[in-house]
Symmetry: C2
Subunit: 123 residues, 2 copies
């Protein structure tokens, strides 16, 4: 019996360099202009929308809401609505999101620590 292309693709290792690999789409979400900064801002713990917006300096309400939705659909961020008075909503990393945030933080911290060398290189 012949295997379908889909069946074969399921057994290929994921590869972000391959145009059609779904891992590339998730990498793009995680490394999007605001996606990276939201994961970094949520790394220390749960935040409400307004607090998150203050941490990620320069983000608009619209971009924050939109990027949170993408990260939620990748199951990296979880949104919790609290039915209290007054009601409020907060955002946290899922266990998957927290594992990923470790890698994103490592990348960001490396840049922060090596900024003098990176800037010197530019002059």
């Amino acid at each position: 019996m012949h295997k379908s292309l889909n069946e074969i693709a399921q057994h290929l290792p994921a590869n972000v360099l391959a145009e059609d690999c779904p891992s590339r789409a998730i990498l793009q979400h995680v490394t999007s202009r605001w996606g990276t900064l939201i994961l970094i801002a949520l790394a220390p713990g749960t935040l409400r929308f307004a607090e998150l917006r203050r941490r990620v300096q320069g983000i608009s309400e619209r971009m924050l809401a939109q990027t949170l939705q993408v990260l939620e659909s990748d199951h990296l961020v979880i949104r919790t609505a609290h039915e209290v008075v007054p009601p409020h909503v907060d955002y946290a990393l899922t266990p998957l999101g927290a594992e990923l945030a470790v890698r994103v933080l490592s990348l960001a911290h490396w840049i922060e620590e090596n900024l003098p060398a990176l800037q010197e290189a530019q002059t």
Copy 2:
């Protein structure tokens, strides 16, 4: 004597969450749609333009040239013109770029390895 704002800023630790910190601009270059994939493709070693374009599936010549220029200006990638017959140009990670690529690869590999869990989460 009062210190200028610039002098104070130079002694603040870099912080990608701060809107004006130059580390944020470099993070954006590194995590741009194609920047990430180019760093990953160059991690195993030096490549010519056409080889690099084949590895980073789906990139246009224009976007490859443009993104390479940004990574060169950050001193993460080095372009070498070989004055042979026929002349050719190749691209490699600088020592700084290689250190950074380790972090980018760790992020990409985590996504590739966790793709089943990330996709399951979406259904």
